[in-house]
């Protein structure tokens, strides 16, 4: 992707004193081809790999959803077996959350965060590659069951104990699920620590926290949520793993275990997880709406603060997933009130987005359409969320299709629409071409209509008493029409996604060439060429205002002066330093993959061997050192100063 810089004069590798030139693997230098992608430490390439894998899993999860909807097309259907259906909805949920939406957000964190803060990479580039490959390892472990006799995990995406115990799931599908999620947790925590370090330390001069682009703010808050939420599920998963492999009794009912404990630990993770999925979406929207309204975000400090509030309160509402577990009156009241409270900062965001539109010049390009669609649908999802906070009413809706409607409004109407908007918006930045506008708009309308046709009737199905995770239903329950329409809507939604992808793929090859700033945007990523060079910024920018690039555009003379001064300083320091590529992140992740798969199969020798590879990989990557080389690009500022 990244073209070699115009004047890519490599000044040779720095050799820190005492470091060996190579251990086991020679440091790769390929800039193209498979080796370049496998060993890359460039945040843009890593972001694209995240995006590629996530897109594949998004399609897989979509196919699973269509099989589910086909089974429910008519009553008493036997299109798929009951067990295969359990596998489908378990893997649909797990895949969409952990293997599609989270890594798509990780893709955008990687692509955008360093550029938005005026940096040349993340704080720990090799660690970044490690989290990518660990994500791939976790995804493989989770999906391995499809190809094994045990089958895929089938206990639901929140795997309630004791359904995951040896008694009720004797095969290894539950082991693949627990180990897979555990591995994915490693990836998420590592990536989040990296982004926190990056955002805190690598901001360009002048980029104070309250000048950070809102997307980067949301990435920061999301990263904090991940490192605080993931340990909870890690503990819960360890307990299941110990119950299954080493005879402990955390959830073993006959020995006094408490399955309710799993629910608490799971949802202490699971509810922040919802915000882990939606806060980045709020970030994309807070970037896209100002650009296409040509106004700054309305109430920036309040949007940022409410994002932090959501993250904070998000840790105090987990038991609203458990209103029907007989918590008693006081606990139920506390969680009901906390849940209502979280609606306030969420509502505030919507008000501010509308405030951003107000008085703007709205340009209805595809990213803007998806962003506006997001506001409408997320608002709907928010309303049904408020309905759930009324705990006694929720005891009717809980685990019904009403809830299925609710969270798809939030996760498709919310997260996914925002991601579809973001892909359209930043596509020209990273591929140098805009996605065909006409087909982008067509895909928007097909997706919008398909989505609502699929999920709006589900509100009625739920209120009409249809439980979720229903392999089949009888013909006399009054659910036939709703399910039939919903399934047709799902096919339409699938068609819309195909149109969207086809337009994107076609545009990758044939789309209109885009300049550095096709949307007249406001943040720093639009100040550099499309696609960005490997080093992002020829000269590290100095930030003078919130929408830094918007400021630069209106103060060209000042900025040009400043840049040439910075370019001279940087040249005096030996040019732009970039880190070397490395095999070790991939090797370490392969070790984790081996360990995970062997452990799930009760092959402890293999698991220890995998662990040894993992530690060897990490040790050798520490030993090889960061390495690095210098580049000396011709900068526009140079040209101007000559």
């Amino acid at each position: 992707m990244a073209e070699a810089p115009a004047k890519s004069a490599f000044t040779g590798h720095d050799q820190p004193a005492g470091a060996k030139s190579f251990i086991l693997f020679r440091r790769p230098t390929a800039k193209t081809g498979l080796v370049a992608w496998l060993t890359t430490v460039d945040h843009k390439k890593i972001g694209m790999l995240y995006g590629f894998f996530a897109a594949c899993f998004f399609l897989l999860g979509g196919v699973e959803a269509l099989l589910i909807r086909t089974q429910l097309l008519v009553p008493n259907n036997h299109f798929v077996s009951a067990h295969f259906y359990s596998e489908l909805f378990t893997m649909h949920g797990t895949t969409m959350i952990f293997l599609a939406v989270m890594p798509l957000n990780a893709a955008f964190f990687n692509l955008l965060v360093p550029i938005q803060i005026g940096a040349r990479d993340v704080a720990f580039p090799r660690l970044n590659a490690f989290s990518l490959w660990v994500f791939v390892a976790g995804a493989i472990i989770l999906n391995a069951g499809w190809f094994l006799k045990a089958g895929a995990p089938a206990a639901g995406w929140f795997g309630y104990a004791p359904l995951t115990s040896k008694t009720f799931t004797p095969d290894i599908s539950a082991d693949l699920w627990t180990v897979g999620l555990q591995v994915l947790g490693v990836s998420s925590i590592v990536a989040s620590l990296n982004f926190i370090a990056t955002i805190v330390n690598l901001r360009a001069p002048g980029l104070t926290m309250m000048r950070l682009p809102v997307f980067t703010w949301m990435a920061l808050i999301t990263s904090f949520l991940i490192i605080m939420a993931m340990p909870s599920i890690a503990i819960a998963l360890v307990e299941v793993i110990f119950d299954r492999h080493f005879g402990t009794n955390f959830f073993e009912v006959s020995n006094g275990g408490q399955p309710i404990l799993w629910q608490h630990l799971f949802w202490i993770f699971g509810h922040p997880e919802v915000y882990i999925l939606i806060l980045p979406a709020m970030g994309y929207i807070s970037e896209i709406l100002p650009t296409f309204s040509r106004r700054p975000l309305f109430g920036y400090p309040i949007v940022v603060f409410s994002g932090a509030m959501i993250g904070f309160i998000g840790f105090g509402v987990w038991s609203h997933h458990m209103f029907t577990t007989g918590m008693g009156t006081v606990a139920t009241s506390a969680f009901a009130l906390a849940t209502m409270a979280i609606a306030v900062p969420t509502g505030v965001k919507i008000f501010n987005w509308i405030g951003t539109l107000w008085g703007g010049h709205l340009r209805m390009r595809p990213p803007m359409l998806f962003a506006l669609g997001f506001i409408w649908l997320f608002m709907m999802g928010g309303f049904s969320g408020v309905m759930h906070s009324a705990a006694p009413a929720d005891s009717q809706q809980h685990n019904s299709y009403f809830v299925v409607a609710h969270f798809h409004y939030v996760l498709i109407g919310g997260s996914t629409f925002a991601l579809l908007a973001a892909i359209h918006y930043w596509f020209p930045k990273f591929f140098g071409r805009t996605i065909n506008e006409f087909w982008g708009k067509v895909s928007f309308w097909v997706i919008f209509v398909g989505f609502n046709t699929t999920f709006f009737p589900m509100h009625f199905l739920g209120l009409n008493g249809m439980p979720r995770r229903t392999w089949t239903y009888d013909a006399n329950m009054g659910w036939n029409e709703g399910n039939f329409i919903s399934s047709l809507g799902a096919y339409l939604l699938g068609l819309g996604i195909l149109i969207y992808l086809a337009a994107a793929v076609w545009s990758y090859f044939r789309g209109e060439k885009a300049g550095p700033d096709p949307w007249d945007a406001r943040t720093l990523e639009w100040s550099i060429p499309s696609p960005p060079p490997e080093y992002n910024f020829a000269v590290i920018p100095t930030v003078h205002a919130r929408d830094a690039w918007w400021y630069e555009k209106s103060h060209p003379a000042e900025i040009a002066r400043e840049k040439s001064a910075h370019a001279r300083d940087e040249a005096a320091h030996g040019g732009i330093h970039l880190p070397d590529q490395s095999w070790y992140p991939l090797v370490a992740a392969a070790g984790l993959l081996t360990a995970g798969l062997c452990f799930a199969h009760d092959n402890f020798v293999g698991a220890i061997a995998g662990g040894a590879i993992l530690f060897a990989g990490i040790y050798l990557w520490s030993l090889e050192g960061p390495g690095g080389y210098h580049v000396h690009p011709e900068t526009p500022a140079d040209a101007a100063s000559h």
Binding site: A336, W376, Q397, E481
Partner: protein, 417 residues
């Protein structure tokens, strides 16, 4: 379901059109199902619905106001021409603190409107109100993969213990019923939408709920927590009876299983039932024929009456023998007859139930025949087939039943009124 006689495959398509036009919302025709949370029949479900409607009204008002502003902004501020798009950017304002404070306050106010009745109803729905507690009738419901057992602690049978039924819970109408919720395996959830919201049955945790049916009637319920592959077909029924009728029902249930008159030479010559081989009719309900669904409560009452004329005593006697020989007794209790097992539903009065297989199939001889012949088709993974008919570890067949034997078993079980 009362469906008109239009081709069944076409029906959903025809109905989709008006539904898509939004008529569903206006007429509420999608909310009249058998498990509708809108068609409430008791105080608990009514309180939950009333609270739900508060949330609907509040959010509807917000939706109209915010939606109108959003729609207005989208239309009014839209750049219509290329010139619009290239025009000088609008003023770069950064927000208005007073507006924000005002909107936050308004949101909080809206939430208070919801919060007050929420708190009130959390207490109301949790436990039978004090004034009625003495009058409450107690039931213990236990979840099994994939059926429900109901015990009546108030109805103790000498030398046996409490009265036990399966999958059809009969309660007194007009009286609060407190249901203890237990499970023997995984988490299940007890849900009768027209009477009360759900509460989970969690291992090692003594949960309960209360509900009340204001009028006698026939209500549909279902497990509402994923509990394994056949979760979707773990259904049950609640039948609420007037005081007198409830007393009669109890008296009959406390009787040991009914024995048919001894076989006579006459009976031997009675024609046997002829069963069609099992076929699925797309769109047809398995748990109720059209006649049944027209008035399930009447159908239930009809089911209570024995029909000696329609019975074949010789066949029923053969069925009773087979029930032992084929080891059905190991899992099913038939109180007063041979069965003593407790792993499966109590079948002492199975002939008087309207459904079998946990509310999945209407209790007709034909359906019972289908069920016994191939239980795994209707309820994949069920323990009658996996562990009873076959050894799940090896797949080896343990119980083989031919058509005649199934006929006899059906005749026997149907006679257990």
């Amino acid at each position: 379901m009362r469906r008109p006689l239009i081709p069944r495959k076409l029906a959903p398509c025809l109905r989709a059109l008006p539904a898509l036009a939004g008529l569903a919302l206006l007429t509420g025709c999608w909310l009249d199902g058998r498990q509708s949370t809108f068609d409430v029949k008791g105080p608990v479900a009514r309180a939950q619905l009333d609270l739900f409607m508060v949330t609907v009204y509040v959010t509807a008002v917000i939706f109209v106001v915010v939606g109108a502003v959003l729609a207005y902004a989208m239309i009014k501020f839209r750049a219509r021409t290329a010139a619009d798009e290239r025009a000088e950017p609008p003023p770069q304002g950064h927000g208005n603190f007073l507006v924000e404070i005002g909107l936050v306050s308004a949101s909080v106010l809206c939430l208070v409107i919801i919060a007050v009745p929420t708190l009130k109803n959390i207490w109301f729905t949790y436990e039978v109100p004090d004034v009625q507690r003495a009058n409450a009738y107690e039931i213990t419901a236990t979840g099994y993969q994939w059926w429900f057992k109901f015990e009546y602690p108030a109805e103790q049978i000498d030398g046996v213990g409490p009265l036990v039924t399966g999958n059809e819970l009969v309660i007194p109408a007009g009286r609060p019923v407190r249901v203890n919720l237990r499970t023997v395996d995984v988490i299940h959830s007890f849900w009768v939408p027209k009477l009360a919201g759900k509460v989970d049955m969690i291992p090692n945790r003594a949960n309960h709920l209360w509900l009340q049916a204001d009028q006698p009637g026939y209500y549909y319920g279902q497990c509402a927590e994923f509990c394994g592959d056949s979760h979707a077909i773990m259904r049950f029924r609640v039948i609420a009876l007037g005081e007198k009728e409830f007393a009669l029902w109890r008296a009959n249930q406390e009787q040991p299983a009914r024995s048919v008159a001894p076989a006579t030479a006459d009976a031997e010559r009675k024609p046997r039932a002829v069963f069609a081989s099992f076929t699925t009719h797309p769109g047809a309900a398995l748990s109720g024929s059209a006649e049944f669904d027209a008035d399930p409560f009447a159908a239930w009452q009809e089911k209570q009456r024995p029909d000696p004329a329609g019975e074949n005593p010789a066949l029923a006697a053969q069925g009773r023998r087979l029930f032992q020989e084929k080891t059905c007794i190991a899992c099913h209790t038939i109180r007063g007859h041979e069965g003593v097992g407790v792993a499966g539903p109590d079948l002492t009065h199975v002939g008087a139930r309207t459904t079998i297989a946990a509310g999945t199939l209407e209790n007709t001889p034909q359906r019972m025949h289908d069920w016994i012949a191939d239980p795994n088709h209707f309820k994949p993974g069920n323990k009658m087939f996996n562990g009873g008919y076959t050894d799940p570890a090896t797949g080896r067949r343990l119980i083989v039943l031919n058509e005649t034997e199934i006929d006899a078993l059906v005749a026997y079980l149907q006679s257990l009124k």
